[in-house]
């Protein structure tokens, strides 16, 4: 048994603290905020899995968040499916949207793709009003069945979703897939010269990212028993970007910590929106200038170590 990578070590400590939180400090408000944080952590981690590893910049993660929410809303209200069913199914719907949107756009060069991702959530947001007979306009969809009225249950639900997401994403990131994606990020042309279908891999990463974000959106919808146009707001996309950059891009765990940091500091303290948004704007700026790796940038090597061990076995070659 080789020494535990820094990565897993931290991961496990984090996980344990989160699991024990309600036991040691069962404060309703704290639990609520942490539930929000878990949901956003899922979105941030999945944003990181696509953009962090493929280097293609996605400004519209909110698209999947909203899609997941509305999908869950529909199924819950019209088909009477329970949260246990709507949440994964909403992830599926997000995948479909991801393919429909990613397949054509992912061939595009950086700037074009960035523009597309910037535009599509705006369109989706406006559609919820233009087609208010379907999407309910500003009413959104309300009267969803709740996950539970117990803060503890709500919290653990979100925690399970978050931990599952992070574990799956770390598993994938430290696999052949992750390796392929990072090679694409470093040099797309050279990557294709290794025999891989670059677009295919990008699409795979994109829909994985979509899937988890969709589930997060669905979880929030079921939690609030309501989903509205605000889920498409670019605020969410930008906030998620900030969380990831602050935590450390291409580390999966980084974004999660980033999410806790921002959500607890901002929502938790009930700071005025202007101050809070200003804070993460400035934070983002500072990190980008001074610590490109983010606060947990040093996790990157250990994620790599993990991958290399998985690919070529415990004993490191040539050392």
């Amino acid at each position: 048994m080789p020494k535990l990578p820094r990565f897993l070590g931290l991961g496990i400590v984090l996980a344990l603290t989160l699991v024990l939180l309600p036991v040691v400090y069962s404060n309703d408000f704290a639990l609520t905020i942490m539930t929000f944080a878990n949901t956003l952590a899922v979105v941030a981690a999945s944003w990181d899995f696509f953009t962090g590893f493929t280097g293609r910049f996605n400004f519209g993660q909110a698209l999947f968040f909203g899609v997941g929410g509305y999908a869950a809303g529909f199924m819950n209200l019209n088909l009477k499916y329970g949260p246990m069913l709507t949440i994964p199914l909403a992830g599926g719907v997000a995948i479909v949207v991801g393919v429909a949107f990613g397949y054509p756009t992912l061939r595009l060069k950086g700037p074009y793709f960035a523009l597309a991702t910037l535009i599509f959530p705006l369109i989706a947001g406006d559609l919820t009003f233009s087609l208010s007979s379907v999407f309910g306009g500003e009413h959104g969809l309300y009267g969803l069945t709740s996950i539970s009225d117990s803060y503890v249950v709500q919290y653990y639900g979100s925690l399970i979703l978050m931990l599952a997401t992070v574990m799956v994403l770390i598993y994938l990131a430290s696999s052949r897939l992750g390796l392929a994606l990072e090679s694409i990020r470093d040099d797309e042309k050279a990557a294709s010269a290794t025999g891989m279908n670059v677009t295919k891999y990008k699409l795979v990463a994109y829909i994985i990212s979509a899937f988890f974000t969709g589930m997060a959106g669905a979880y929030q919808a079921q939690l609030f028993k309501f989903v509205g146009p605000d889920t498409f707001s670019s605020n969410i996309s930008f906030e998620v970007i900030a969380m990831t950059i602050v935590g450390g891009i291409a580390t999966i765990v980084g974004p999660v910590l980033g999410a806790y940091l921002l959500v607890v500091v901002l929502d938790g303290l009930g700071v005025s929106s202007d101050i809070s948004v200003l804070t993460y704007g400035v934070l983002l700026m500072a990190i980008v200038l001074a610590f490109p790796g983010g606060l947990l940038g040093r996790l990157k090597p250990s994620l790599r170590g993990m991958r290399i061990r998985r690919l070529v076995g415990g004993k490191r070659p040539g050392t």
Binding site: F59, L115, I119, L122, I123, S234, I275, G281, V282, L289
Partner: protein, 285 residues
């Protein structure tokens, strides 16, 4: 039949869009900078005009000039302070400009509130070209935009500075070998794009009102126009600006106002897919 309306409104709007997008096109075409904070210049320009006109004694024209001057300086500051240190990594440029935009938005809303402000016109009154009633301010906005757009274009086409700019746009390395100072050119480019966007904001702001989050739409419009016209192609930008404005106006008149935002965006999205290099764009590598 609303043809005259479409012609007039589309044309007037397009001119301002062209000016708004010009700087975005320049900063990408010349300095290879995708400046997400471009719309912030527009927003700030609008606010500067408002502040000087309503809260201080300065008259309309003066406020307009101040808006241009300040956004010019802001453009330079943005480049030297934030973009230059991370210039080598495009992703970090995207991030830094995004964060700059967010910060600008929140600082402004802390100062003037979320609700946005409307400023008085430079010239009041209305007139009726082709029998379509429009505010003189709107005609002025279009006229000034057109003039500014053309003069910047001429600047780049004819002057020595312009030649340097184009040299950098062609091949930054070669240009620096020819002794052209890349930084100086980038500074000027960003300054210009700040000033032009700021002017657009100061001209259109009084007509549309201006709010702290106006930057996002402005950036999207500029981005869309430039992509549609072809990254780095100024004539393409000019053409695309009118395509966007006309598609918007036509939808508003012939389909429904409630689609006037969605449809143009969708059109652009499709256009990008069908012809990634844009109308007049060179092949993008």
């Amino acid at each position: 039949m609303v043809l005259p309306e479409i012609l007039v409104f589309g044309g007037l709007l397009g001119a301002v869009y062209a000016l708004l997008s010009l700087g975005f096109s320049l900063s990408y075409g010349v300095a290879r900078i995708l400046n997400l904070a471009h719309g912030s210049f527009y927003m700030i320009g609008g606010y500067v005009y408002y502040v000087f006109l309503t809260l201080s004694g300065v008259n309309g024209v003066g406020s307009l000039l101040l808006a241009v001057a300040l956004t010019f300086l802001l453009g330079i500051a943005l480049y030297l302070g934030l973009i230059r240190p991370v210039r080598s990594a495009p992703v970090r440029v995207l991030l830094i400009t995004l964060s700059a935009a967010i910060v600008a938005q929140e600082v402004v809303s802390l100062a003037f509130g979320d609700r946005g402000v409307g400023a008085p016109f430079i010239i009041g009154g209305i007139s009726a070209p082709l029998g379509v009633v429009v505010e003189n301010q709107r005609i002025l906005a279009a006229g000034v935009s057109l003039a500014m757009f053309l003069s910047v274009w001429l600047l780049i086409r004819t002057t020595k500075l312009g030649r340097a700019v184009r040299a950098v746009a062609q091949d930054a390395e070669a240009a620096s070998l020819m002794g052209i100072n890349d930084t100086r050119i980038s500074v000027i480019t960003l300054g210009l794009s700040g000033a032009t966007a700021g002017l657009a904001g100061a001209l259109l702001g009084p007509l549309t009102g201006i709010s702290p989050d106006a930057w996002l739409n402005a950036t999207v419009v500029a981005f869309a126009v430039v992509i549609l016209g072809g990254l780095g192609s100024i004539p393409g930008t000019f053409l695309a600006a009118f395509l966007v404005s006309y598609s918007q106006i036509i939808v508003a008149f012939e389909v429904s106002s409630s689609y006037e935002i969605i449809v143009p965006l969708a059109v652009i999205a499709v256009a990008v897919l069908v012809r990634p290099k844009g109308l007049l764009g060179k092949v993008e590598e």
